[in-house]
């Protein structure tokens, strides 16, 4: 047995043991919980109840310690007392709400607060639930299982959003929520596609094409996100990426050009592999334009996508198409060139009259020696 197989076998038997443990103690058991309470008797009793339910428990004696632990370790749920020295439960809830990493962590408040106003305040501050002390163990178990289940669904949803949107869009959604409509921002837009893709598709099996596309997209995503860009559309072999939206980027034009250079380099490396396997090398064309775009969610309340529209987007698409005519890999518009200064060597290709444009625009090509 190889080392790798051994490791895999060990991992799968650990997985089986974990699932057996889950079955033995019911759903939601085996979670990692934090108990924050300044009273030692309460801490001990709560820990005992939770351990009897099959959970792993850590404790904090005040709100400040609890926050430190929440930021340093991973927990599934917090049981929070309200009356605590240094930082009380309200303070913990406020700090958690303001923290991206902690905002969605479920909190069950366990307290013997008098009066409804404070309980309402807890819920308003984001607590999932409120249990009056002394806590009934059966009620505690039910509430914890329900909170953990809700968290599991939330995590799953988050995971799906990340898979079908970009992480930047996922963050933007988490921070600002979802609303249709755009806002004007300065950004750099990139279009890229594979040259002669149609011919390529005809010369190979559909399975090979899918595999090629998957590799191609993996490489392009790496290059683009490595420079802070966001791929927001994939159509066949073409993709559109945005630099500087939805989240601002320091030097978006330079980042886009660097990403383009990385993309070309990755395709060169990929081609070495393809030629080694007796396959045709592929070539890509990239168009980049900078300026004002309208960025936001378009679609309907049920189905929407994050996108950018405007002249800058059209120009980037035209430049990408133009790479075929001038037989150059990366073309830029005047705004991108102006922002670059002399950081990347360029050739001046002169003014070009694009379809749909009323005036000719200057076009620049990244010099071949920059593509190293």
């Amino acid at each position: 047995m190889t080392d790798e197989m051994g490791a895999r076998a060990a991992a799968s038997s650990a997985g089986a043991a974990a699932s057996r443990a889950r079955m033995a103690t019911g759903p939601g058991a085996g979670a990692r919980l934090l108990v924050a309470d300044d009273n030692k008797v309460n801490r001990l009793l709560m820990t005992r109840s939770l351990e009897l339910q099959g959970h792993k428990v850590a404790t904090a004696e005040n709100g400040r310690v609890a926050l430190d632990m929440l930021r340093a370790e991973t927990f599934d749920l917090v049981l929070l007392d309200m009356e605590m020295p240094e930082l009380d439960g309200f303070g913990v809830l406020e700090k958690m709400a303001a923290d991206n990493q902690l905002r969605s962590l479920p909190v069950i408040v366990t307290s013997s607060l008098e009066g409804i106003a404070d309980i309402v305040r807890c819920i308003e501050l984001g607590a999932d639930d409120y249990l009056h002390k002394p806590v009934n163990p059966v009620l505690l178990k039910a509430r914890i299982n329900s909170s953990l289940e809700k968290k599991r669904l939330r995590d799953q949803q988050q995971e799906l959003i990340k898979r079908f949107a970009t992480s930047e869009v996922a963050n933007d959604l988490q921070e600002s929520g979802f609303a249709l409509g755009g806002r004007r921002v300065r950004a750099t837009v990139m279009f890229s596609d594979i040259r002669g893709f149609t011919t390529l598709v005809e010369s190979q099996s559909p399975e090979e094409t899918i595999e090629l596309l998957n590799t191609y997209y993996t490489l392009m995503f790496d290059a683009i996100s490595g420079q802070g860009g966001v791929v927001n559309q994939m159509i066949g072999d073409g993709l559109m990426a945005i630099f500087g939206a939805p989240q601002a980027l320091d030097d978006a034009p330079l980042a886009a050009v660097r990403a383009a250079l990385d993309m070309v380099e990755m395709i060169d490396l990929f081609n070495v592999e393809r030629v080694g396997m007796d396959k045709e090398p592929i070539r890509i064309g990239i168009g980049i334009a900078s300026g004002e775009v309208v960025a936001g969610y378009t679609g309907t309340q049920q189905r929407a996508t994050y996108t950018c529209i405007g002249d800058t987007v059209n120009l980037a698409a035209r430049l990408e198409a133009h790479t075929k005519e001038v037989q150059r890999g990366i073309l830029l518009d005047g705004d991108t060139q102006a922002a670059l200064g002399d950081k990347v060597p360029l050739d001046v290709l002169g003014q070009v009259m694009f379809k749909g444009k009323s005036v000719a625009v200057p076009v620049y090509a990244v010099k071949a020696q920059a593509q190293r």
Binding site: N39, R48, E83, E114
Partner: protein
Amino acid sequence: MPDTIDKNTFSELQEAAGAEFVTELVDTFLEEAPGMLTELRSAMQAQQADKFRRAAHSLKSNCQTFGAIRLGAMARDLEANGISSGSGALDALETHYAEAAADLKELSRDG
């Protein structure tokens, strides 16, 4: 049987957490509670309203756990009335605590 502690509450606690564990828990309470009583007195003298309220709240919460109904009610009054409760209320609390503590110890040892 002592009437300082509600027997139903106490045996429910034993059932849920285990009698042996409850014995340890009572010991912990008996270690911690004198500190809370001292804190109540010093907070009252120093006019520290927050500290006073927190100590009373903490004591009340533990009393409710063990079924120390009367002691819990006294602590609850202290929490509500704050440092204006008067030192007489603290004297009464301390006297009753001594009784409740003894009963609690006895109950937890009965098994």
